[in-house]
Symmetry: C2
Subunit: 720 residues, 2 copies
C-alpha cells in the first residue's frame, strides 16, 4: 500500500509579520500500517532514523489493524524555521494528556510541562533531561508522534499561549497572590498546542502513529523501531554484580557461596576491576586481578552463571584499541579516552570485532555500558562537549543522543552473528530503542523515582531496572527487592559492597566485614524474592514475546491500558507487567498504601482475594509482601524455582487461576538463547467446571514448560 496525502503546512516566518503566513505543500507519506511520515523543511543528515536505519516490523501477526487516516489532517501542523532552528506546532485539545519524551524518573504526565530532551545522568533536574531523552510522545487521544531528531529538542506540551489575534475580553480576577506557588501556577489554557522546537535543524521528519488507542500507537512505534527485544531466557533470572575491586578469586568465592546457599542468580557481573585500566577503559583483563581469564570464565560457566562485563565506550591510551580507533574518534577526550564514532562501520568492526574475539567467543554473554550518558551541567561535568566533531560529520549533541543506541546495536550484532541473544545494561538510550537488548539503569537511587521509571519506560520503547545495593534500613532493602522482582531485570548491583547487602546494608560496615545480626534471616527473605523471580520467568518471557512480536510494552503505566479513565492519568507509583499483572510497590516507612484498580475484575495475586475495579483501595501489606493484582481473565503460570537457567532447563508450572471467569494465557517456548526460528506456542485455558486445556503448537523440540498443576485461587470477600 503506497498512498500519499498532501498536507498543507503553514509556514510562519520568524519575524512578526505572521499574518502573511505562506502556505506550502508538504508530503505526508505512509511508511508502515498506521504510520505516516511528514517532512517539514529540510531535515538534517544525521537523525535516529538515518543513522540507526530501523527495520520496521509492521507485518507481524497481531500487529494493530491498518488505520484509515493519520491522527491529524492536512493543515493541522504549522511549521517555521528561525535562526535558532525550526518549530513545529501540532494540535492538542484541552483535555488530552501527553506522556513519554524520555525516561523521566521525577516526572510523569507531561501535559502542561516543557521538556528539553537532553542526555543527562543527573535525575535531580526536572527539565526533561534523562538517561533516554526519546523524542516520542503518546496521547490519551490515541495517537503517537515521533520527531526524528538527534538534537536536544524542546517540547512545550500545551503550556504556551500565543498573543490572540484580537484583544481578549478580559476583566481580570483582581486577586493578589502571596505565595510563589499561587503566583507561578500554570494557568489551564483553553486553547492548547504541542509546540516543538528543534535546535540547529532547518527541518525535521515527524512520524505520526495512529491508534485507535494509546497502547496501539505505542505498539506501532515499537514495531516501526523493529519490534521489542527478546531477551535470552537466562536474562530474566536474577543478576548479581560484585565489588569493583574484587579479584577473580573473590568473584568465584561469592559465586560458589550463592550456589551453596541456593541464591539463584543466573548472571554475575564484573565491575571495572576486571580491566587493567578504568576510567577510561583498556578492555584488557588485569593480570594482577584476573591472571587466568579463560579459567575464570570456565569456572563461572561450570557454576551456570552467565558473565557480564562492565565497560564504557571511552578508550584509554593503554588499550590495544586506542591506535586503530584514533582516526575514527571524536576530537575531545573523556577521562583521557577516545570517543569512537560508532556510526562508522570500521569503528564498529574494530570495537565489536575485538569484543567478539576476546570476550563473546570466550563465553561472555553480556555487557554493561556505563557513563555513555552525560553530566553536562554540574560543577564537575564530564563527557565530551556538544561542540565535539566526529569523523562521520556528527557533532557532540547528535552523538550524545546516538552513542547509547549505536553501542547497543553494535554489541547486539556481535551476539547475533554468533547466533546468540544478550541482555545487558546501559546508561543511555534514545529513539527507536525497542529492539535493543539492553536495560537502562541509573545512579540516582531513589526508590520512589525508580518505580516511576517503571511506569514511564513503556511510553518510549525502553526498559528500566530499579537495581538494589546499599540501603538505609532492612525494610528499604526488602521493599527495593520486591520492586526489582517485578522489573525487566532483577539486579543486585553491589559495585562498592564486598558482602551482599543482605549480609550488611550499610556500606562502611559491609566493607569492614561486619554482618547484620539478622543476616541469615534476611538472606532467607532475599532468597524467597529471588525464587519468586524464577517463578515469574515464564510469565515474563511471554510478556517479552509480546513485546518482540507485537510491540506491546512488558512494563508500562496504567494510563496506557486505560487512557479514558482519568483516575489513571497521574498514577506513577503503580505499573502493569505483561498482560495481567498490576504492581503497586510499597516504600520504606509504609505499611499500607492506596491502590487504584481500573474498571474490571481484579484479584490479589498472593491470596486470590477479589477486588472491584474502577476504585481506589487501601491495601495493607506486611514487610514480606508487595501488593500485586491479577486482571480477570488471565491464568498466571508460575514455575517451581530453579537455581539457574540453561538451554536445557525445564520449568514445572503451577498455573494459577483467579475468580470464576474463564482464564487464559499463552506461553512462548524456544531454545531461549539463539535466533533460531523454532518455537512453540502453548495456549493455556481454564473455565469453571471444565477440564483445563493445554494446547501446544510449533516446531521446537524440547518441552520447556511442564504444567504440573492448576490451582484455583480461592475467591474471597473483597476489601474496600
Amino acid at each position: 500500500m503506497v498512498r500519499t496525502l498532501l498536507l498543507a503546512c503553514f509556514l510562519i516566518p520568524s519575524a512578526m509579520a505572521a499574518a502573511e503566513s505562506e502556505t506550502i505543500t508538504t508530503v505526508m507519506k505512509p511508511v508502515a500500517p498506521g504510520v505516516w511520515r511528514v517532512t517539514l523543511g529540510e531535515p538534517e543528515e544525521f537523525t535516529p532514523v538515518s543513522v540507526l536505519r530501523p527495520a520496521a516490523k509492521s507485518e507481524a501477526p497481531g500487529a494493530p489493524p491498518e488505520a484509515e487516516a493519520p491522527p491529524f489532517t492536512s493543515g493541522d501542523i504549522a511549521f517555521h524555521t528561525n535562526a535558532r532552528g525550526c518549530v513545529a506546532v501540532l494540535p492538542m485539545d484541552s483535555r488530552e494528556q501527553i506522556y513519554g519524551l524520555g525516561l523521566h524518573l521525577r516526572m510523569f504526565n507531561c501535559t502542561g510541562t516543557r521538556k528539553e530532551i537532553t542526555v543527562n545522568d543527573h535525575q535531580g533536574d526536572e527539565d526533561g533531561s534523562s538517561h533516554a531523552p526519546v523524542p516520542f510522545y503518546v496521547s490519551t487521544n490515541g495517537y503517537g508522534v515521533y520527531v526524528d531528531t538527534a538534537r536536544y529538542a524542546r517540547f512545550y506540551c500545551g503550556n504556551l499561549a500565543r498573543v490572540p489575534e484580537t484583544a481578549p475580553h478580559e476583566t481580570g480576577d483582581g486577586k493578589i497572590a502571596t505565595t510563589t506557588e499561587e503566583l507561578y501556577r500554570n494557568k489551564t489554557l483553553s486553547k492548547k498546542a504541542m509546540t516543538i522546537e528543534v535546535p540547529v535543524a532547518k527541518g525535521v521528519d515527524i512520524y505520526l502513529f495512529a491508534g485507535p488507542d494509546m497502547k496501539s500507537a505505542v505498539r506501532r512505534y515499537n514495531l516501526f523501531s523493529g519490534g521489542g527485544c527478546l531477551p535470552p531466557l537466562w536474562g530474566l533470572g536474577p543478576y548479581y554484580r560484585g565489588h569493583g575491586q574484587f579479584k577473580a578469586e573473590d568473584i568465584l568465592a561469592l559465586a560458589r557461596r550463592f550456589r551453596d546457599t541456593k541464591m539463584p542468580f543466573t548472571v554475575f557481573g564484573l565491575e571495572p576491576g576486571w580491566q587493567t585500566q578504568a576510567y577510561s577503559c583498556s578492555y584488557v583483563w588485569s593480570p594482577e586481578r584476573w591472571p587466568d581469564p579463560a579459567g575464570f570464565i570456565g569456572e563461572m560457566t561450570a557454576l551456570n552463571y552467565n558473565l557480564n562485563l562492565w565497560e564504557h565506550a571511552f578508550v584509554h591510551p593503554t588499550s590495544p584499541l586506542y591506535e586503530p580507533l584514533r582516526p575514527l574518534s571524536g576530537d575531545y577526550e573523556v577521562w583521557k579516552g577516545l570517543v569512537p564514532d560508532f556510526s562508522l562501520p570500521r569503528a564498529r568492526e574494530i570495537f565489536g570485532g575485538y569484543h567478539e574475539r576476546e570476550f563473546v567467543k570466550q563465553g561472555v554473554t553480556g555487557f554493561k555500558l556505563d557513563e555513555c550518558d552525560n553530566q553536562p551541567n554540574k560543577k564537575d561535568p564530564w563527557s565530551f562537549p556538544e561542540l565535539s566533531a566526529f569523523p562521520s560529520g556528527m557533532d557532540g549533541e547528535q552523538m550524545h543522543c546516538l552513542i547509547g543506541p549505536l553501542y547497543q546495536r553494535m554489541m547486539a550484532e556481535v551476539f547475533e552473528r554468533n547466533n546468540l541473544r544478550t541482555f545487558g545494561k546501559v546508561r543511555s538510550s534514545h529513539a527507536l530503542a525497542a529492539p535493543l537488548p539492553f536495560v537502562l539503569y541509573s545512579d540516582h537511587y531513589d526508590h520512589r523515582d525508580y518505580v516511576r521509571g517503571l511506569a514511564n519506560c513503556g511510553f518510549g520503547g525502553l526498559l528500566w531496572q530499579p537495581e538494589v545495593r546499599n540501603c538505609d534500613s532492612v525494610e528499604e532493602l526488602l521493599r527495593r527487592g520486591q520492586t526489582c522482582l517485578f522489573s525487566p531485570q532483577d539486579v543486585y548491583d553491589c559495585w562498592f559492597l564486598k558482602l551482599p547487602p543482605w549480609d550488611q546494608i550499610n556500606t562502611e560496615k559491609n566493607n569492614a566485614g561486619e554482618r547484620l545480626p539478622e543476616h541469615a534471616e534476611l538472606e532467607a527473605k532475599i532468597r524467597q524474592l529471588l525464587e519468586w523471580r524464577m517463578r515469574l520467568v515464564p510469565y515474563l518471557y511471554s510478556a517479552f514475546a509480546d513485546y518482540h512480536n507485537h510491540g506491546e510494552p512488558p512494563f508500562r503505566a496504567l494510563v496506557m491500558d486505560y487512557p479514558a479513565d482519568k483516575n489513571t492519568h497521574d498514577v506513577d507509583d503503580q505499573f502493569l507487567v505483561g498482560p495481567a499483572l498490576l504492581v503497586a510497590p510499597l516504600f520504606a516507612g509504609q505499611t499500607e498504601r492506596s491502590v487504584y484498580l481500573p474498571a474490571g475484575g481484579w484479584f490479589d495475586f498472593w491470596t486470590g482475594t477479589a477486588f472491584e475495579g474502577g476504585k481506589t483501595h487501601q491495601i495493607k501489606a506486611g514487610l514480606d509482601a508487595i501488593p500485586v493484582f491479577v486482571k480477570e481473565g488471565y491464568a498466571i503460570p508460575l514455575a517451581d524455582p530453579v537455581q539457574f537457567i540453561t538451554p536445557q532447563t525445564v520449568f514445572n508450572l503451577e498455573v494459577r487461576v483467579y475468580g470464576n471467569a474463564p482464564a487464559a494465557f499463552t506461553l512462548r517456548e524456544d531454545d531461549g538463547v539463539s535466533l533460531n526460528p523454532e518455537q512453540n506456542i502453548i495456549e493455556l485455558y481454564w473455565a469453571p467446571e471444565k477440564k483445563p486445556v493445554i494446547k501446544r503448537s510449533g516446531n521446537f523440540a524440547l518441552e520447556r514448560y511442564h504444567v504440573r498443576d492448576w490451582k484455583v485461587m480461592p475467591p474471597q470477600p473483597g476489601t474496600t
Copy 2:
C-alpha cells in the same frame, strides 16, 4: 589613539580534517584604553552592545592606565563555526583562576566548570544559569574577556581535553574507584583552554580587557559599560516592603508606626496589591485598595519615605497600555500579558512615558521589576519561550537576555529626564549593567548562598541584595539582617507578612497577628542594625562614587583585590565593601567562624583589635555582632544615625581611625538626588600625633558632612 592590530586566527573547520586549519586574518581593534575588540566570523545583529549601545566612560580621572598590549597575542584565539553556532578557544594557563559569568548563588570559582549562561530564576541548578548570566569573565592573571552575545553561550573554563595530535605516553594508574565522587572528579588538565560556544551565531565580537591586575580588568569592563551607577543618597538607607494584599491605609499605618518607633526606613515598597490586576499587570491603582493615590503619595512623602512600586513587564489586557503595546510586543503571552519589545523606541515611549506621567511625576521614586527572568525547566514553567519572535527581529532567547537591562535602562532614562536618580530592584540583568541603578534579588532565600552572591556580583558589573523576610529562628533573622547591613540595598521584603518580621518570624503566626514574646527586644536589635546602616551611608556613598567614576565594584570577592594570594581563590563566604571593609557574616547555628585576612594589617571594625593579615583567624561573635575588619590605612567615616534621608540631610560624622599607620578616606558630597554636576570632594587624613586634616574642594554649596569627632580605636593585642 586609533591603533589596529592584526590578529591571526585559526579557523578550524567543523569536520574532522582539523589538521588543515585555515588561517584567516581578523581585525583586533582598540575601542577604549586597555580594551580591544576582536571580531570573529559574522556577529549577530542583536547583541548587548548593538542593542544597549553602552557609552563607554574611559576617560574618567582615576581610570586604569592605558595598557600597551592586549592580554593575548595574535594567533592565541582559535575560532570556527559549526551547525550549532560558533566556537572560540582562548588561552588559559594551568594555574589561573576564572571568575564571573553571572550572578551565581551556588557557585563561585569557575575554573574547571562548564557554565551555560541562561536566564533562570531557579538557583538550585548549578549549571551556570542565574538571574544575571553575564558573558564576562575575569582571570587571576589580570585580564577580562567579554563575549558580546545575547545567546545562552557555554563557557568551558579549562575542563575540556582535546585528543592530542600524537598518542600520549600514558601508562594508566590502574586504580579502580568505587565512589561516584572519585569516578567523576575532574582531572586537573595539564593543558587548559577557555572554550566558548555561542549557539546560533556564526560569529561574535569578543572584547579583551587588560589589567594589569584583576580589579583593573573589571574596572575597565565597568567603565566600558558606562561606569557604575550612582544611587541617590536615600537609596542607601533601609528599605521596607509591605504585604502584597495591604491597602493604602495598612501601608500608612505601618509607615507611621516606623516613624513612631524610630525604625529609620527611607524607602517603602508597595507589592502587587497597589494595582487592579497582577499577574500580569494593569499598572493602574486599585480603586478599592488605593482610592486616593495622590493623597497616599503625599502622606508617604510627608513621612519622608521614598516610594517604590512593584510591577512586571507583562501587560494585562485590562491595562491601558495593552492596545498601544500589542503591535510592539512578542508573539507569546506571559500570564495572559503582552511582552513588550523594549528595544523599540516607541515601546519605551509608551511604557516609560506612562510611568513618567502616572508615577514618577506624581512622586514615585523607584520600581521593582519582578519575574523579568525566566523559569524554563521546572514542571510548571513560566515566561515566554525562547522561540518567541519580537517585532524588532529579536527572538525569545535574545529577549530573555536583554529584557532586564532594557527595562532598567528605560526606567533610568525616565528618571534622568526628570533630573532624578533612582535605585530599584530587578530580578534579571545581563551584560553592561554597571550603570543601571537597580539591584538584583531572588526568591531563592538561602542565607549562605546570598552571601556568595555578594562575593560574586562584583565580577560582572552587578549589584545584589540579600533581603530579609520570614525566618526559622530569631538568630537567623539577626544574622540575615547583619548581612543586609553590609549589602548594596538593605531590604526587609515582607511581601507576604502582615507584621514586620521582628514582631513575628513565622509566616502563619505573623499573618495571624501573633507576636513573639520578645518582639520589643527584637525590634530594638533590628533598630540598631538599621541605625548602623544609616551610620554607613557616607562610607557606602563614597564606595558607589568609586564605582561610578572608576568602575570599582563596591561589593566584591577577596580574590579581586588579592588575586595572587591562593588562599583567596575559593573564599565566597567573605566579601569586601568599598575600599576598606572586609565582611565575614555568621549564619544561624554559628557562634564562631574562620576568617581569612589577606596580607597586610587588619583591625576589628567594632573594637579596633589588630589582626595579622596573610592568615586565617577563628573569630567568635555574639548574636549581636557580625565580624567586620578594617584594612590598615583607611579612616572610616560613620554618621550619627538619622531617621530618613532628604536632600537637606546633614550627616554628623565620627571618623574612626584604626592602628598607628596614617589613615585616609575620601567622601563625595553632592545633592544626592539629581544629575547636577555640582559636587565636593572631602579628603580626610589622619596620622599619629598630627592634627587630622579635612580638605574640602568642589562647587557644591551644602555641607552635607560635618566631622564632629575623630576617634582612634584602641589597638589591642591581636588574637590568633
